[in-house]
C-alpha cells in the first residue's frame, strides 16, 4: 500500500506541488473524512487523472467543495484517503445570454455564481439563502431537499448538462440541448448521487432574467391546516409563487422575530396556534398583478390576515440579502416528503406546538415538512421523528438513496475508490410492487 508521501508525490505530478498538501493544518479541515493528502485540481482532466492514479495507489477519494455539510464518511477499507477539494475549479466557462444558460466549473460557490449573474441582470432563480456558501458541484451531487426554488424546482432540475470525470480516467460531457428522447436521462445518474458514480467537474445551468416585478406576501392563518389548504388552492389556480413556505408559531418566532417582526402576528395560545405563509410572486408586472388578485380571493376565503407592507418588506429584504457568513453548527431537523392527503395523519401525530414546523417545496401534490427542536437530546429526538414519519407512511428526507443506486456502484465504481457519506447505507428500497396508493373516492 502506498504511503502519504508517495501519494502526495503522484498528485504533485498532476496538479503541481503547490496544490497538494499533507500538512495537518490543511487536513484538519476535512476531519470527517480523515484524509492523508489534500489535493486541489484546477481542471476536469486533472480530476480524471487523480481518479485513475488513485486506483493504482489503492487510495480512496472523497470530493469536497465548500465542506458545509458535516459528513460521516463510509470507511470501506484501510486505504489512505485523498481529499479532492474542488475550490480551485471556480470559473464561469461560458454565458449564453441568447439561450439563458451558463456553464461553470463545479467548485464555484452558488453565491459567487449568482453574484456574477446578477451583475448582468440574470439569476439562477430564487433559491434559499442557506445554499449561498455551498459549491455548485456539492449542490448537484447531493441535491439537498432544501436547495429548491418554488418556481423552478430542485437545483438539479435547472441542470442542462454535465461534465463528469469517471474512475476510468475519462471525462465525458453531455450534449447541451433543452430536452431529448435518446435513451435514459444520464444526467440523473449523477445528479443526487452524492459522488458515488463520478466527479461532476462542470455543469450547464438554466438561468433567467431578474424578475420584472416581485411581490412578497406574509399571511397569517388560524392554523397549519388552513394555511396548507390555501397554498394548495394557489397551485390549483395555476400560480407558481417564486417563494412559498409555511411556518408554525414556534418556527415563525425563530425566523421572523430576529428580523424585527413582532410576535403578536403569530402568537399562539390555548385557543389558537396560527401558521404563517411566507410567499412571493414574480414575473411581468401585469402577471403579478393578476396573480395577486387571485391570491386575494383565496386568502379571503381562508380567513387569513395580511401583514403590513413594512413588516413584509423587512422579511423580504433579509430573504434577498447575501449571507455574510457560512451557516454554523448542525441543524437538528427531520424532514419528510408528504402529500396533502397525509395531512390528517400528520396533524394527529406530528403537528405539536413544541416542535418548530416549516413546510416548503410545496406544489400541487404536497411538499416537505421539516421538524426541528431545541431539545438538548435533539439527535435522539430527530431519530424518533424520522421513525414517526415512517410509521405514517412518509419517506424521510435523506433516506432516499435507492438500493438500485447502490447496485449501480458495482458497475460505475468497481474499484470502490469514491468515498460517499456513511448515511447512504440507510436506503430506500427500490423493489416491491407499486400497489394502490390511495383509494378511489
Amino acid at each position: 500500500m502506498s504511503n502519504p508521501a508517495q501519494i502526495a508525490s503522484k498528485m504533485a505530478e498532476i496538479v503541481g506541488a503547490t496544490h497538494v498538501s499533507t500538512q495537518p493544518s490543511d487536513r484538519k479541515r476535512y476531519r470527517g473524512m480523515k484524509p492523508s493528502v489534500v489535493v486541489w485540481p484546477a481542471t476536469a482532466n486533472e480530476v480524471a487523472r487523480i481518479l485513475m492514479v488513485s486506483i493504482e495507489l489503492n487510495a480512496e477519494v472523497g470530493v469536497t467543495g465548500a465542506n458545509t455539510r458535516q459528513e460521516h464518511w463510509t470507511r470501506i477499507g484501510s486505504q489512505h484517503r485523498i481529499s479532492l477539494d474542488t475550490r480551485r475549479m471556480n470559473n464561469i466557462l461560458n454565458l449564453d445570454e441568447t439561450s439563458l444558460i451558463v456553464q461553470a466549473q463545479t467548485g464555484i460557490r452558488f453565491g459567487q455564481l449568482e453574484a456574477a449573474l446578477t451583475r448582468q441582470g440574470l439569476t439562477l432563480g430564487s433559491f434559499p439563502r442557506a445554499i449561498h456558501f455551498s459549491t455548485l458541484g456539492g449542490l448537484l451531487a447531493h441535491s439537498p431537499a432544501f436547495a429548491r426554488s418554488a418556481l423552478t424546482g430542485r437545483i438539479a432540475d435547472s441542470c442542462l448538462g454535465l461534465s463528469v470525470a469517471t474512475t476510468t480516467g475519462s471525462v465525458f460531457t453531455t450534449k447541451i440541448v433543452p430536452r431529448r428522447a435518446t435513451g435514459p436521462d444520464l444526467l440523473r445518474v449523477f445528479l443526487g448521487s452524492r459522488g458515488a458514480f463520478g466527479v461532476i467537474t462542470d455543469a450547464v445551468m438554466r438561468i433567467m432574467r431578474l424578475p420584472e416585478q416581485e411581490l412578497p406576501l406574509i399571511q397569517v392563518f388560524p392554523g397549519l391546516r388552513q394555511a396548507l389548504d390555501a397554498v394548495r388552492n394557489i397551485f390549483v389556480a395555476g400560480i407558481r409563487p417564486s417563494h412559498c413556505q409555511i411556518l408554525n408559531s414556534k418556527k415563525a418566532a425563530t425566523i421572523l422575530e430576529p428580523l424585527g417582526l413582532p410576535n403578536t402576528l403569530w402568537e399562539s395560545n390555548v385557543e389558537r396556534s396560527p401558521a404563517v405563509v411566507l410567499a412571493a410572486l414574480s414575473g411581468p408586472e401585469v402577471v403579478v398583478e393578476a396573480q395577486s388578485q387571485v391570491l386575494e380571493n383565496i386568502f379571503e376565503q381562508a380567513g387569513s390576515s395580511e401583514t403590513p407592507d413594512e413588516l413584509t418588506n423587512l422579511w423580504w429584504k433579509h430573504e434577498k440579502s447575501i449571507p455574510d457568513e457560512e451557516p454554523k453548527g448542525i441543524a437538528h431537523t427531520a424532514g419528510a416528503h408528504f402529500r396533502y392527503s397525509d395531512l390528517q395523519a400528520l396533524d394527529k401525530s406530528l403537528f405539536r406546538p413544541k416542535l418548530e414546523i416549516l413546510i416548503d417545496q410545496l406544489n400541487i401534490h404536497g411538499g416537505i415538512i421539516w421538524l426541528s427542536t431545541t431539545n438538548s437530546k435533539s439527535q435522539k429526538t430527530i431519530s424518533k421523528l424520522n421513525e414517526a414519519f415512517i410509521d405514517i407512511g412518509l419517506v424521510p428526507v435523506g433516506q432516499d438513496f435507492p438500493t438500485l443506486a447502490q447496485e449501480m456502484r458495482q458497475e460505475l465504481d468497481p474499484e470502490k475508490i469514491l468515498l460517499t457519506p456513511q448515511w447512504l447505507t440507510a436506503n430506500q428500497s427500490s423493489f416491491g410492487p407499486l400497489g394502490p396508493l390511495r383509494q378511489e373516492e
Binding site: 433543452p178 431529448r180 435518446t182 436521462d185 438554466r206 411581468p284 449501480m408 460505475l412
Partner: protein, 516 residues
C-alpha cells in the same frame, strides 16, 4: 414468412403455463400483425412486397405484473428476447422484434389503480391507451396535459418508454415531468419501483429507455385541474427568424402558453391548404377541375403527377424556395393559452404584444381553433402518399435558441436535394426549441425507396449533429437512429451500457435497439 426460430414447443409450453393458452400465440396472422410498428422503413417493406423481416416467435398478453415477472425469469433462462409492446405506433422500429423472441402486448394491463383529486395524482397500469387515460381523468375534472399526435393509438407505457412529448408541452411539460413513481420489471425479474423523490432520481433512467432497461408495468402520474378557459390566436410572421424570436421572448419572460407553434413558409402554405395531406389535396383539387375528373384517366393522371413531383422532390423544393419569397403569405404561428380566466387573458395579452413587436400580423382566433380541431388528423393521411410510390417521415431535433437558426438551415440544406422538406417549430423552452421537419419523396423499385429513405435520414442526422442538436426530441431512437447514438452520447454511452448490464444482465430486454 420465416419460421419461428426458437424451440417452439418448449417455449409454447412454458408460456402457456404462465399465461394460459388463450393469451399466447404463435399463429402467422398474429406474428405478421406484430412484425412492425409504424416505422416507415417497415411500411415501405410492406408496400414494396418485401418479406417481413421482424416477425416475433410468440406474442403474449399479460394481465398482471406478476405474470411479467414470471415471463422474464422464464425467458432469461434461455436468453430469449422480450420486446414490450404498447400500441405499436412508434416510428423508429423500437417495438420491432429485430432479434425474434416474445412480443409482450401490455394493453390488457390497462386499469386505473388509484386516483386522488386532493393530491392531483393518479396511478394507471401501463397498457392503457392515451385517450382512455385522458377520458378517465376528464370525468373527474382532471387532465394529464399530455397530447401527443398518437394519443388514440399509444399507451402510457409507450409514452414513458419513448420519452414522449405532447402538443401542450410548453405549459404542462413532457412525460418525464409527469412521473411521480414508476414500476417496471427488470431483466432479472425484479419489480423495480422508482419515486421522483429518490436521489438519484432513477425513475428518469427508465423513462426513455425504450424497453431496454425494464418493462414498465405501471406509473403514478401528476395531473392537473381541467382548465376553465382556453383562448387560441394565430399570427403571420414575415419569416421564420422573426417568428423564432417572438417565441424565444415569450418563453424567456416566464410566460407559459399551452401551444406555441411556428410553421415555415412551405409548411404554412400546405397547412393552409388542409394539412399534411395537403399536397395530395392540392393535386386532388387540380384534377377535380378537369372535365373527366371522375374517370380512371384522371385518377391515373393524379397518381402520375404526384409520383413525378415527389420523384423530383429536390427540384420541387428548390422551386418552392425560389418562388416562396414572391408569394403572398408568410409563416403561420398558432398560440394557445389556458387556465384560470384572468390569468389566461393576461397571458394572451402579453404574448400578443410580443408577436406584434416582432412584426406579426394578427390573424384572429380562427386558424388556431382550426388547428385545435384537426390537431390529430395528420397522422392518418399517409396511405395515399405511399400508394403513389411516395413516402414521408419526420425528424424532430432540438437545440438551444442560439443554434436554432443554424439547425433549421443546415437540415433543410442537407435534405433538399432528396426530398420536399417542411418544418415547424414547437415544444419551446426557455433555453431552446424543437424543430419538426417533415420530408416527402418518391422512388420506384423495391430497394430504391429503402436506399433513398436511409440516405435522407443519414443526411438529416449528420446535419443535426454537426450543429450540436440532439438527434431526437421526442420520437426516440429504436432501430432507425441507433447508429447515431455514439455521436449523440459520446463517452457517456458507456454509462448506458453499464446500466443495461446491471439491470438486464442477460441482455434479453428489447435487444438490438438504441445502439446498445
Amino acid at each position: 414468412m420465416p419460421q419461428s426460430s426458437a424451440n417452439s414447443q418448449k417455449l409454447a409450453h412454458g408460456l402457456c403455463a404462465i399465461f394460459g393458452s388463450d393469451r399466447v400465440s404463435q399463429s402467422n396472422p398474429d406474428r405478421l400483425a406484430y412484425s412492425r410498428d409504424m416505422w416507415p422503413q417497415t411500411l415501405l417493406a410492406l408496400r414494396d412486397d418485401r418479406p417481413m423481416v421482424y416477425p416475433p416467435d410468440f406474442v403474449v398478453w399479460p394481465e398482471s405484473t406478476q405474470e411479467i415477472v414470471e415471463l422474464v425469469k422464464f425467458a432469461a433462462r434461455d436468453r430469449i428476447p422480450i420486446v414490450p409492446w404498447g400500441a405499436g405506433s412508434g416510428v423508429c422500429g423500437g417495438a420491432a422484434a429485430t432479434c425474434g423472441g416474445i412480443i409482450v402486448d401490455l394493453k390488457r394491463m390497462n386499469r386505473l389503480l388509484s386516483i386522488s383529486i386532493e393530491d392531483h395524482l393518479a396511478a394507471f397500469e401501463s397498457g392503457i391507451i392515451g385517450q382512455t387515460l385522458e377520458d378517465t381523468l376528464n370525468i373527474r375534472g382532471l387532465t394529464l396535459g399530455h397530447f401527443p399526435a398518437s394519443i388514440y393509438c399509444s399507451t402510457l407505457g409507450g409514452w414513458l418508454a419513448t420519452r414522449s412529448a405532447g402538443q401542450f408541452s410548453s405549459l404542462y411539460g413532457n412525460i418525464e415531468d409527469m412521473v411521480e413513481c414508476i414500476e417496471a420489471v427488470t431483466g432479472d425479474g425484479r419489480v423495480l419501483k422508482c419515486h421522483s423523490h429518490d436521489q438519484p432520481e432513477l425513475a428518469q433512467i427508465l423513462v426513455g429507455s425504450e424497453g431496454t432497461l425494464g418493462i414498465i408495468t405501471a406509473a403514478e402520474i401528476r395531473v392537473h385541474p381541467l382548465p376553465s378557459h382556453r383562448i387560441f390566436h394565430a399570427y403571420e410572421f414575415p419569416n421564420v427568424t422573426s417568428g423564432m424570436e417572438a417565441m424565444r421572448r415569450i418563453m424567456q419572460r416566464g410566460l407559459k402558453p399551452a401551444v406555441l407553434r411556428l410553421y415555415d413558409r412551405l409548411d404554412t402554405l400546405l397547412a393552409r391548404s388542409g394539412g399534411q395531406g395537403a399536397m395530395n389535396n392540392l393535386l386532388h383539387s387540380a384534377t377535380n377541375q378537369l372535365p373527366f375528373s371522375n374517370t380512371r384517366v384522371a385518377k391515373g393522371l393524379h397518381r402520375t403527377v404526384f409520383k413525378t413531383a415527389l420523384g423530383h422532390a429536390g427540384l420541387l423544393g428548390k422551386l418552392a424556395e425560389n418562388v416562396m419569397p414572391n408569394l403572398k403569405g408568410g409563416c403561420l404561428l398558432i398560440l394557445g393559452c389556458q387556465g384560470e380566466k384572468t390569468l389566461t387573458e393576461t397571458e394572451i395579452t402579453l404574448c400578443h404584444a410580443e408577436m406584434i413587436a416582432m412584426d406579426a400580423k394578427d390573424l384572429g382566433e380562427e386558424p388556431g381553433l382550426e388547428w385545435y380541431k384537426h390537431r390529430y388528423d395528420v397522422s392518418y393521411k399517409q396511405s395515399p402518399l405511399y400508394a403513389s410510390s411516395g413516402f414521408a417521415d419526420t425528424m424532430e431535433f432540438a437545440t438551444t435558441w442560439k443554434r436554432l437558426p443554424a439547425l433549421y438551415e443546415s437540415v433543410k440544406r442537407a435534405l433538399s436535394p432528396y426530398a420536399l422538406v417542411l418544418a415547424h417549430f414547437s415544444h419551446a423552452y426557455q433555453e431552446g426549441c424543437s424543430i419538426y421537419f417533415t420530408f416527402a419523396a418518391a422512388s420506384e423499385g423495391r430497394h430504391s425507396s429503402e436506399n433513398l429513405y436511409n440516405e435522407i435520414w443519414r443526411q438529416g442526422l449528420s446535419a443535426a449533429i454537426k450543429v450540436g442538436a440532439t438527434i431526437s426530441h421526442h420520437h426516440g431512437i429504436g432501430v432507425n437512429k441507433a447508429a447515431f447514438m455514439a455521436h449523440e452520447h459520446g463517452e457517456s454511452m458507456a454509462i448506458f451500457r453499464q446500466l443495461k448490464k446491471n439491470i438486464d444482465p442477460q441482455g434479453i430486454l428489447n435487444p438490438g435497439k438504441m445502439g446498445l
